[in-house]
C-alpha cells in the first residue's frame, strides 16, 4: 500500500509537470465547455460546478434528452419503457450549468474556440470532449446505415432499441435471433451477453421454441462463466455462443435477407431477427478534431484526462484510452470526477490530487438473477491499473438469494448513477 501511494504521488507530480500552462485568465471564473451530455460529460459538468461554483460551465449536447445504453436491454425484454431510461437536462440547468442543444462541428484549439452547427462560436479556457462512440459502418461489408434499419445495432439507445424490440415482438415462435458481437475494445463488454440473456427471458415467456445464436468475433467474453452458468439455469438449450475461432466471426452481411456470412463463405446464417453490433471508434467530433490516434481512440494523460495530442482539451469516457478501465457508463462517471478535480486544482495552481477510479458492471441474466464484475483502479507509473487483491467477479457458487440481491442492486445502481450524472 505504501508503495502504491508513493507511486501515485510521483505519477501525480509527473503528470502535473506535463500539464500544459493554463491561460493567465484561467482563474476560478474560467470558462469550461463540455461536448457531450452522456455519463462522462454530464457528470463532469455537474462536479466542476459543485467543486468550484465560480466556474462557468457550458454543456453542449445534440439531443434534448439522453437515453442510456445501460438498462436498454431491459427495454428489449419489455421490463422497462424507453421513458424510464431517458434523462433530461433540467436538473443540470437548475444547478446553473448552461446547457445548449446544438452540435459541435469543429474545434479551433489554437484560439480555444468551439464551432457549433447553428453557426455560433464559443470560447473556452478548458474543453472537455465526451462524445462516446461512433459505429464503424464501413468495417464489415454489407453493414451500412441502411442495413442498420433492417439489422439494428441498438448500441446507441433510443430509436434503434425500439426498432429491435418491435422486430422481436413481430417474430414468430420458433424463430432464430442472431446477435453478432464485435472485437475488443468496444462499449460495454458484458452488454451483448446481458442482451442475449434478457431477450431469452422475453422469448421463454412468449415464444419458447425460439433460439438465440451469438456469433462472436472473440474467443472469450466478460463474465463468461457466470453468464453461461446462468443460461444453463434459466434458459437451458436456448442460447448458443460461437467463438470467433470456431466460426463466429462474421465476414459479410446481406441485410435484405437477414443473412450473416462466416468461415470464408462456407456458412450462411439466415435469421429472423439480427442484432448486429459493429466495431466502434471514438465519437465523430474526436475524430474530426484529430484527438484520436491510429487505434481510433483518444490517448490521454491518465491523471487529468488531458489529450496527449492537443493541449487544453480533455477526453473522457468511451472515447478515451484509460488503461485497464472498460468502456462503461460507470467508468465514464468515475473518470469525469477525477478529471473535474484535476481541472479545478490546476486552475488554482494547486497540485492535482492522486487519482482513484472505480467500475462496477452489473448484468441481469434474468429479472431476479444478477451478476457483477468490479474493480478499484489507481495510477501506477503511467497507466490506470486495477488495485491488486480487490474487485473481481460474483462468486460462481452463489445461491439464488445472492443472485437476487445482485439483481436488486443492479436496479439500485441504475437509480443512483443516473441521479449522480444528470442530477
Amino acid at each position: 500500500m505504501q508503495r502504491r501511494n508513493f507511486l501515485g504521488q510521483s505519477a501525480g507530480i509527473a503528470a502535473l509537470a506535463m500539464l500544459t500552462p493554463w491561460r493567465a485568465t484561467a482563474t476560478t471564473s474560467a470558462r469550461t465547455i463540455i461536448i457531450g451530455g452522456g455519463f462522462g460529460g454530464a457528470t463532469c459538468a455537474r462536479y466542476l460546478r459543485l467543486l468550484d461554483p465560480g466556474l462557468a460551465v457550458t454543456l453542449i449536447e445534440s439531443d434534448a434528452a439522453f437515453v442510456t445504453c445501460p438498462f436498454s436491454n431491459l427495454v428489449l425484454a419489455g421490463m422497462r419503457t424507453v421513458d424510464e431510461i431517458t434523462h433530461t437536462y433540467a436538473r443540470l440547468r437548475a444547478s446553473a450549468i448552461t446547457v445548449i442543444h446544438d452540435t459541435a462541428t469543429a474545434i479551433d484549439a489554437d484560439n480555444r474556440r468551439v464551432a457549433l452547427a447553428s453557426g455560433k462560436q464559443l470560447d473556452y479556457d478548458r474543453l472537455i470532449v465526451a462524445p462516446g462512440i461512433a459505429l464503424k459502418f464501413d468495417a464489415v461489408p454489407g453493414y451500412d446505415t441502411a442495413a442498420a434499419e433492417l439489422m439494428p445495432h441498438a448500441w446507441k439507445a433510443g430509436a434503434q432499441t425500439l426498432l429491435l424490440r418491435r422486430q422481436l415482438e413481430a417474430m414468430n415462435d420458433g424463430g432464430v435471433v442472431v446477435i453478432a458481437a464485435p472485437a475488443n475494445p468496444f462499449r460495454c463488454p458484458p452488454g451483448p451477453y446481458e442482451r442475449a440473456s434478457l431477450i431469452a427471458h422475453y422469448l421463454k415467456q412468449h415464444k419458447p421454441r425460439s433460439k438465440i445464436l451469438i456469433l462472436d468475433t472473440k474467443d472469450k467474453f466478460s463474465k463468461q462463466s457466470l453468464f453461461q452458468q446462468g443460461w444453463n439455469a434459466l434458459y437451458p438449450g436456448m442460447i448458443e455462443w460461437v467463438a470467433g475461432s470456431a466460426g463466429g466471426l462474421v465476414e459479410r452481411v446481406e441485410a435484405a435477407s437477414r443473412t450473416l456470412v462466416t468461415e470464408s463463405g462456407f456458412t450462411e446464417h439466415r435469421a429472423d431477427v439480427v442484432n448486429f453490433i459493429p466495431p466502434q471508434e471514438a465519437g465523430q467530433i474526436a475524430q474530426q478534431a484529430e484527438l484520436t490516434d491510429a487505434s481510433g481512440w483518444c490517448p490521454v494523460n491518465q491523471l487529468s484526462f488531458e489529450s496527449l495530442r492537443i493541449p487544453g482539451i480533455h477526453v473522457l469516457g468511451d472515447a478515451a484510452i484509460a488503461g485497464a478501465m472498460p468502456k462503461s457508463g460507470f467508468s465514464a462517471n468515475s473518470q469525469a470526477k477525477v478529471c473535474a478535480a484535476a481541472i479545478v486544482a490546476a486552475l488554482r495552481g494547486d497540485p492535482i490530487p492522486e487519482a482513484s477510479y472505480a467500475n462496477t458492471c452489473y448484468s441481469l441474466v434474468g429479472p431476479d438473477y444478477g451478476i457483477s464484475v468490479s474493480a478499484v483502479y489507481a495510477l501506477t507509473d503511467s497507466a490506470i491499473a486495477a488495485v491488486k487483491g480487490a474487485g473481481g467477479l460474483s462468486p460462481s457458487d452463489a445461491d439464488p438469494a445472492f443472485r437476487a440481491r445482485e439483481a436488486a442492486y443492479a436496479r439500485g445502481w441504475y437509480s443512483s448513477i443516473t441521479a449522480d450524472t444528470w442530477g
Partner: protein, 107 residues
C-alpha cells in the same frame, strides 16, 4: 485515526453541496469517496437495498469498510471493493462522506 476525522469535522472543512468551493486538501477525499456515490446515491436510500451513506457518521463508515475488507461483515460486492483501499484511504472516504450533503438541485 478517528480523532483525526473528528478534528477535521470540528474545524469545519467544506464539502460539496454547500455552495462553496472545495479546497485543495479535500480534493483527494472527494476523488476517493465520489466512487461510492455512483451506487449508493446522493443522500436518501434508493429503494433497492443499497443503503444511503452520504452524511453518515465517519466512524460508522470507516468501521463498515474495514469489516467488509476483512470479511467480518458478509456482503455481495462490498468486500471486493473495500479491499481496494488502505487504512488512510478509508479514513479519507469516511471523513468526506460524513461532511457531504445532498448535491441534487431540483428545478
Amino acid at each position: 485515526m478517528h480523532n483525526l476525522v473528528q478534528c477535521l469535522l470540528f474545524i469545519g472543512l467544506l464539502s460539496i453541496g454547500t455552495g462553496k468551493a472545495v479546497q485543495a486538501d479535500d480534493l483527494r477525499g472527494f476523488v476517493l469517496a465520489s466512487s461510492c456515490v455512483s451506487c449508493h446515491g446522493d443522500a436518501s436510500p434508493n429503494g433497492a437495498g443499497i443503503p444511503a451513506i452520504v452524511g453518515r457518521d465517519a466512524a460508522f463508515i470507516a468501521d463498515a469498510l474495514k469489516n467488509f475488507r476483512s470479511g467480518a461483515r458478509v456482503s455481495t460486492i462490498m468486500q471486493r471493493l473495500a479491499r481496494g483501499y488502505d487504512d488512510a484511504e478509508v479514513e479519507l472516504i469516511a471523513a468526506w462522506l460524513a461532511k457531504t450533503q445532498s448535491t441534487i438541485v431540483r428545478p
